[in-house]
């Protein structure tokens, strides 16, 4: 058992449902007790969906416990088949049904005989995988099912398209800025003269999956979801795939070069360099912005990055490499992909934190006291409590992270958006100086308690007043240094003298 208040990644079935409800005309039936269909609320509220979420529950109640749920599940599948005429019904197990250990596959087989739609059982273990892993797995499962089906029916289209083309794999519902990213990727692929073959799963019909092998290559923008599918397609159809996320100016260029290598042939050499150069220097504003004098003030400022693997890793690289900001700690909650994450960021940050425990993240932030945080909604709240600004760069997110306006994180427009986000998260340059010179303008009371440590020290009134004069953005650090000094010297009450003594001790 684990004492938990908050989690970064949801349970497995959420991942499965996200993939299922992203496809067109696919219906998911959860084998779950009353109240577990909370996914519908999230999709309807966060994505502000106009359509009914194609997810229903086959309710597990007392009667089901006594009699088994076979009849009910089969009935519900057949009923949904008649009501909605979906192409595919995906039976989704939940934590409850995985303990019941009923033979769900058998129910699926029985229902498939009567139903006109295809029926499959999502193959995810609730206790072993999280939301993201389950989504990855489900996407692969659905793709595999339809390619094998097409193969059997002889409808598989293996002929490559005439022009270079790509599949974009891993855009789906409730993903962090996924819709905007997708539009941005389409845009630059179009600029490069590359056709989009299929985008899966968002908005894709399962009947189109048989066209997947027509593409020249697969692009997997996020590591968390889509990689398994890309690997499967590589193994079965020798389709190459690109996992370089086009996030930030440098990595967008890397991604485009990878595409160039795949579509360029000796007979028909293709050179994307002029495009990269034009976009980098003149179309996108991000490269110019990091060079402009305004951005000088960000030099060496300390930041902390935490989020899913993809966003945290690329954000770390952008901050360190493209903006000259010091990343004191980069971390991810994608523990299953820790190895890749460490490889990616180790050159760009002081330390690496791999955890899915939000209190560890909170303590790390309190200890380091960065000038800004780039994290999830949880870090935003930690930042609020510690008075540190935070830019949200990764799921889990709230409704405000599903903006109506165009806000990609990928591609050249994404680089602009990130530059804005970073710049606005730090205290503005001139304001920063003025604060330092005039001793700050915030009249908030000084909080002498931090998140992590239960302090046994007391500050006397004069000391507090003095602490209040210190500008907000360095106050935490001075406070911490003073307390450290006091503790080392067994001082229990902190006065102005102690503060100065501490300052001298550190400077010497």
């Amino acid at each position: 058992m684990k004492l938990a208040y908050w989690m970064y990644a949801g349970p497995a079935h959420i991942g499965t449902l996200r993939v299922a409800s992203s496809f067109q005309n696919v219906h998911a039936i959860m084998h779950a007790p009353l109240g577990d269909d909370y996914f519908n609320v999230m999709r309807s509220m966060l994505e502000r969906e106009r359509d009914f979420t194609p997810v229903t529950a086959s309710i597990v109640d007392r009667h089901v416990l006594a009699r088994g749920s076979q009849e009910k599940v089969v009935e519900n599948i057949i009923r949904k088949d008649k009501e909605e005429r979906p192409d595919l019904i995906l039976l989704t197990p939940t934590c409850t049904s995985s303990i019941l250990q009923e033979d769900l596959q058998n129910f699926v087989n029985r229902a498939a005989i009567e139903a006109e739609s295809d029926v499959i059982l999502a193959d995810v273990n609730h206790y072993r995988v999280n939301e993201l892993q389950a989504a990855d797995r489900t996407l692969e499962q659905v793709v595999k099912y339809y390619l094998q089906k097409a193969n059997k029916q002889g409808t598989l289209d293996l002929k490559k398209s005439n022009h270079p083309s790509a599949n974009i794999i891993g855009i789906f519902t409730l993903g962090f800025h996924n819709q905007h990213d997708c539009r941005e990727i389409r845009r630059f692929l179009q600029d490069l003269g590359i056709e989009i073959n299929e985008i899966i799963p968002e908005g894709c019909s399962v009947n189109n999956l048989k066209n997947l092998p027509r593409a020249w290559f697969n692009l997997v923008p996020y590591r968390e979801v889509g990689l398994m599918t890309a690997k499967y397609l590589e193994k079965e159809f020798q389709m190459p795939y690109i996992t370089n996320t086009p996030m930030g100016i440098v990595d967008t260029a890397t991604c485009i070069r990878a595409i160039q290598n795949l579509v360029s042939t000796p007979e028909n050499p293709i050179n994307f360099e002029p495009y990269i150069d034009k976009q980098t220097r003149f179309v996108s504003q991000a490269a110019w912005f990091s060079r402009s004098i305004d951005c000088q003030n960000l030099t060496g400022k300390k930041a902390i990055v935490f989020g899913d693997g993809t966003h945290a890793a690329y954000m770390t690289k952008i901050l360190a490499r493209e903006m000259g900001i010091r990343v004191a700690c980069a971390g991810t909650y994608c523990k299953h992909d820790a190895h890749w994450f460490k490889e990616e960021v180790q050159e760009y940050c002081d330390e690496i934190l791999i955890t899915d425990n939000h209190t560890e993240v909170g303590d790390m932030i309190a200890r380091i006291e960065p000038a800004a945080i780039f994290g999830t909604q949880m870090e935003r709240h930690i930042g609020k409590r510690l008075d540190i600004p935070c830019g949200v760069i990764s799921a889990p997110v709230h409704i405000q992270n599903f903006p109506l306006g165009y806000r990609p994180f990928l591609g050249y427009e994404g680089a602009n958006q990130i530059a804005d986000l970073v710049y606005n998260s730090f205290t503005l340059g001139m304001e920063d100086h003025l604060l330092e010179i005039f001793g700050g303008h915030d009249t908030k009371e000084v909080i002498t308690k931090s998140l992590s440590t239960d302090s046994d020290l007391t500050w006397n009134q004069e000391g507090l007043n003095e602490l209040n004069k210190i500008p907000g953005f360095v106050r935490g650090k001075i406070k911490r240094n003073t307390e450290k000094f006091a503790r080392e010297n067994s001082i229990t009450e902190i006065t102005v003298e102690v503060m100065y003594a501490a300052k001298e001790a550190i400077n010497s």
Binding site: K2, P33, L34, D36, S44, M45, L65
Partner: protein, 469 residues
């Protein structure tokens, strides 16, 4: 549909495929109500994810609840449940030092048959903190019924009421210092409104968790009728639970508390006053009248009070009169709300409700029937365990002016031109008593007012036709 006026209530029962909140959501309001409690939900990631998302910002405010998240080792019994719970509860004691820990049993603990009730007393003596077990799981209950399971469990922890206590209770008012060791009673006097003329009736305990302002409003209404409330279940602090016993009368303030009512009657021998619920001015008046009636007190000034409230609501009533409502059903407040809205002049097509206890809600159902007759409208159909899919077909057919529904359906219905109000808001808003009738109508009319202002734009239907299913 409207031409058939039947004069008996009919109950239908559908498939039970409907959307509602999991009953563990009750921790959200109960931990705030019982200030010295800690709620430990023994369940899986699924439960945790629900709480985290359903409670939104509350989660960041260092809540006094947490998940005991079951891992694979717990499910396969490789780990010892007792040892594991002990470890977590000791940690909770250390970090928060609560006066009571409430274990919320979930679907998983039911299925793996974890003996929470058996373990609690043992652990309670070992760590010295009371442990109350409530099985608020989705296998058996819906949404607000979670509170019912918790309160029913707490009933067993209330001290015994003895007739002699009444005397000491009175004396102690005169000389508190002498009886200062009676911690329990002193705290109780703080909770109740003191009135020199009261106590000509047996003790009355009200049950149901309400925000403290609302419960003091109800206390005050009763005091005006010379009725003193000797306690509430639950109380602000666990240590102040009211005394219960054979001579104590109890009355519910919420329609979903049937288990608590049963437990009070059967296990503590309390006498239940079956009344309509104090929701809406009509309900509040009927509720007070019924209590007065049981105590042989002639209610005074109630009619005037009710009329005054109705007069104050005039602007809202003009908005809702003649409009139709469809309750999809998810929180068991539906019957009382429908009754109030019918009295406001609305037409209710359907009352969906997760579970209908006809005995506990008898007085409320009776009032509903009378209200329909008085307003000369047909009795609505009451659908237990509704089927959301079928309901949406009916909503399409009936085109109600307002659908009261969960958040899963609200946006899709709005996109199809049906005004909706999220039912969850009624659970969290202050809707009890005379003074809060305005709040109910504020909620009910909000979509009507908003859509009135947007109506001229002509964008009522916002779905593409080929997607329109």
């Amino acid at each position: 549909m409207l031409d058939k006026i039947s004069d008996t209530l009919t109950f239908e029962c559908e498939t039970g495929n409907y959307h509602t909140f999991c009953p563990i959501s009750c921790v959200a309001w109960l931990y705030q109500k019982i200030e010295d409690s800690f709620f430990l939900v023994v369940g899986t990631k699924t439960c945790g994810y629900f709480l985290q998302n359903a409670l939104g910002v509350m989660i960041f405010a260092e809540p006094r609840y947490a998940m005991a998240e079951l891992e694979e080792g717990d499910i396969s019994a490789q780990l010892n449940d007792y040892q594991e719970l002990k470890r977590l509860c000791i940690q909770i004691k250390k970090d928060r030092n609560p006066s009571v820990i409430v274990w919320i049993g979930t679907c998983t603990t039911e299925i793996i048959k974890m003996d929470l009730e058996g373990m609690a007393p043992k652990l309670e003596t070992e760590i010295g903190i009371p442990i109350v077990v409530a099985r608020a799981n989705g296998l058996d209950y819906a949404f607000t019924q979670g509170e019912d399971t918790v309160l029913a469990a707490i009933v067993h922890r209330c001290p015994d009421y003895k007739v002699s206590q009444k005397k000491s209770f009175k004396k102690e008012k005169k000389d508190t210092s002498l009886f200062s060791f009676l911690q329990l009673n002193i705290n109780k006097t703080k909770n109740t409104i003191q009135n020199s003329q009261t106590q000509s009736h047996p003790p009355l305990v009200l049950f149901g968790s309400l925000p403290s302002t609302v419960s003091s409003q109800l206390n005050l209404e009763l005091t005006k009728q010379q009725i003193e409330v000797s306690g509430w279940l639950p109380t602000q602090r666990y240590a102040d639970l009211p005394c219960l016993g054979e001579d104590v009368y109890v009355c519910g303030v919420n329609p979903f508390l049937s288990r608590t009512a049963t437990t009070l009657m059967r296990r503590r021998k309390c006498k239940l006053i079956s009344a309509p619920f104090p929701i809406g001015p009509d309900g509040t008046r009927a509720w007070i009248e019924k209590i007065c009636n049981v105590f042989n007190i002639k209610p005074e000034g109630l009619k005037e009070r009710e009329n005054k409230v109705w007069n104050g609501l005039k602007e809202y009533l003009d908005l809702v009169r003649g409009k139709s409502v469809f309750f999809m059903g998810d929180n068991l407040l539906e019957i009382s709300l429908a009754r109030f809205l019918i009295r406001c002049g609305m037409i209710v097509y359907e009352i969906g409700i997760p579970y209908m206890d006809k005995r506990y809600q008898a007085a409320e159902l009776n009032l509903l029937q009378k209200t329909c007759q008085a307003m000369n409208v047909p009795l609505p159909r009451i659908v237990e365990k509704p089927d959301n899919y079928n309901q949406i077909q009916r909503i399409r057919e009936l085109k109600p002016d307002l659908a009261i529904t969960g958040m899963a359906h609200a946006n899709p219905l709005e996109a199809r031109g049906i005004s909706t109000k999220w039912s969850v808001e009624f659970t969290f808003a202050q809707i009890h008593g005379f003074s809060n009738a305005r709040d109910i109508l504020e909620l009910v009319t909000r979509p009507l007012r908003r859509n009135q202002s947007l109506h001229e734009l002509g964008w009522d239907n916002l779905v593409k036709l080929n997607y329109n299913k």
